[in-house]
């Protein structure tokens, strides 16, 4: 197993393996549980420029094959992040990707500029699934022009690799992916959570304080796999697959349809050591199947027919 080549490149960023946490489902509180040096990257929770309180509780609920969350990006602001959060990760040699959320295109650029000054930050993930409050309140990532704008403005102010984290709540993920590529994105994260809702039929209240939330977990994996496949068809940018990865098998599936790396979110809530467990499983699979370099798997789904892309 020692000669396995697990390293992947996300633009200019080299990751020692393709397994990293998803933003919002990871923190230094996990330090005693797993060795951060074995992660492909460290991805702390999205931050906002100013401190923010977050949404009403309950903020999570269980659904069939997953969960809904609506945390509301509770954040202590970018200054606190730079001063108090980032230093926690200094002792690890794993690249850190900062996830940022903002209310406007300008704010995205401002934040990227501030974050870029930190040498510990190896890349920036743009959470364009958050709502554009200066616009109609819809997520940036639901509009190709806005997505383009966010990425472009951020690229203008930073040299760090930029990952656009797409929202899956769109008619054409390909269109948004291409807009981000045109804006200069170095990589794409496919994708954030799907907007969802659940109601307690006895109290007749939404199970989430904020009424709507994002669904994550295995229930959404087939939708995300489809989107990775679709995005891979239109771009050569590195793709980070995200959504419903619970096991190493899920990672292989995402790589086969075109992802170069994956993020693991909800799985860590169910199995707190999911990240290292998945990496171990992947290594065993590679050894057993003679896969020497993990990159060999990327996009290797075997499409026999000239299929129609409809249902």
């Amino acid at each position: 197993m020692d000669h396995l080549q697990l390293g992947v490149k996300i633009g200019h960023l080299y990751l020692k393996n393709p397994i990293m946490p998803a933003s919002g489902a990871f923190g230094f509180e996990m330090e005693t549980l797993i060795d951060f040096n074995n992660l492909g990257a460290i991805v702390p929770k999205s931050i906002t420029k100013h401190p923010r309180g977050g949404n009403a509780t309950p903020r999570v609920c269980e659904v069939n094959g997953g969960m809904i969350n609506s945390i509301g990006i509770q954040s202590k602001g970018v200054d606190y992040y730079v001063k108090e959060i980032l230093p926690h990760y200094e002792r690890y040699d794993t690249p850190l990707i900062s996830s940022i959320s903002a209310d406007s295109v300008e704010e995205f650029a401002e934040m990227a500029e501030i974050i870029s000054r930190e040498s510990i930050v190896s890349g920036i993930e743009l959470n364009i699934s958050c709502p554009n409050l200066k616009g109609n309140g819809k997520a940036f990532g639901m509009d190709a022009a806005l997505s383009y704008n966010v990425v472009k403005k951020v690229k203008d102010v930073t040299d760090k690799p930029i990952i656009a984290k797409l929202t899956p709540n769109v008619t054409s993920i390909q269109e948004i992916a291409l807009a981000c590529e045109k804006g200069g994105a170095d990589a794409l994260n496919v994708a954030n959570t799907f907007l969802a809702m659940a109601v307690d039929i006895y109290t007749r209240e939404p199970k989430i304080g904020n009424v709507l939330g994002g669904i994550s977990g295995p229930a959404i994996k087939p939708l995300i796999v489809r989107m990775i496949y679709q995005v891979r068809k239109v771009t050569n940018l590195p793709i980070i697959g995200c959504g419903g990865v619970m096991t190493w098998e899920d990672v292989v599936e995402m790589l086969l349809v075109g992802a170069n790396a994956v993020q693991v979110g909800t799985a860590s809530f169910i199995n707190p050591t999911a990240l290292p467990d998945i990496l171990e499983g992947l290594k065993e699979y590679m050894t057993a199947n003679g896969v020497k370099d993990i990159n060999e798997l990327v996009g290797k789904v075997n499409i026999k027919h000239n299929q129609v892309e409809s249902i």
Partner: protein, 259 residues
């Protein structure tokens, strides 16, 4: 905190709605404190883990016990877990109760399954020769759990129930007033009811009684990373958000903002 596969020693129904679970705790190296909890994978069919307070820690026989209310998907399936099988539990999590050396007499106010959480504390209090006075509230006498266990520990138990018409807030207020008068109570602890917590908070603030509460909130990670389980703490004029799973579940009752 760590995930453990623990062998089930027993899992039995103890009243109409409550079950008692005993696990072989030998694999756990960490020390466990009353008020701390474990996040338990109840079944394959319940996606999220469920948080449960530690009910009893038996250091000699190296077992831990939980007392749980059968409520929904997770706990319904938990009742199906059989002795000999293994249960994946993650913990110990959060911060436990603080039992100060200088306290000789403390009051416990629990409702429903909140009794489970305070029972562990009563156990520790007994070990430290601290006198416990417990007011236990429940819907029915059948729901009044662990009174015998508490009495065996030397706890002075007062039971109030809807069944007996003794559990309304006014009656409980009167009862506590009398207990405060009759005893030199130096601290109070509560769990299991928003109504009673509010009552105790009001009374504790009035008489400057140190008080602690074990809170419940819906959880995602239970390890402080997801911010699902927040509540507000008010100190002087500042209100800030804390995580029940990390800074709690035990908080200073006089500071916590009860919605």
């Amino acid at each position: 905190m760590k995930p453990y596969d623990l062998k089930i020693i027993s899992n039995v129904r103890v009243s109409e709605r409550y079950w008692h679970l005993k696990l072989d705790a030998r694999p756990i190296a960490d020390s466990i404190r009353p008020g701390q909890f474990f996040n338990i994978k109840c079944a394959d069919l319940a996606f999220l883990r469920r948080p449960f307070s530690i009910y009893r820690i038996n250091k000699e026989e190296k077992t831990i016990e939980f007392l749980y209310l059968v409520k929904g998907n997770g706990t319904v399936h938990l009742t199906e877990a059989a002795p000999g099988e293994y249960l994946n539990i993650f913990g110990p999590l959060g911060n436990g109760f603080e039992l100060k050396k200088e306290w000789n007499t403390v009051l416990l106010l629990a409702r429903g399954v909140g009794i489970a959480t305070l029972a562990a504390l009563a156990q520790e209090a007994a070990a430290n020769q601290v006198t416990c006075i417990a007011v236990l509230s429940a819907r029915t006498n059948n729901d009044l759990l662990s009174t015998e266990m508490l009495e065996r520990l030397g706890v002075e138990v007062y039971k109030v129930t809807e069944e007996d018409g003794t559990s309304d807030v006014e009656a409980v207020e009167k009862l506590i007033e009398n207990l405060l008068k009759a005893n030199r109570i130096q601290a109070a602890f509560t769990c299991g009811s928003k109504r009673l917590s509010k009552l105790l908070q009001r009374m504790a603030k009035m008489v400057h009684l140190p008080a602690q509460i074990a809170l419940e909130e819906h959880m995602g990670c239970a390890m402080g990373v997801c911010y699902a389980c927040v509540c507000d703490i008010q100190e002087n004029d500042d209100t800030h958000s804390v995580r029940v799973c990390r800074e709690g579940p035990v908080f200073d009752l006089n500071k916590v903002v009860l919605k």
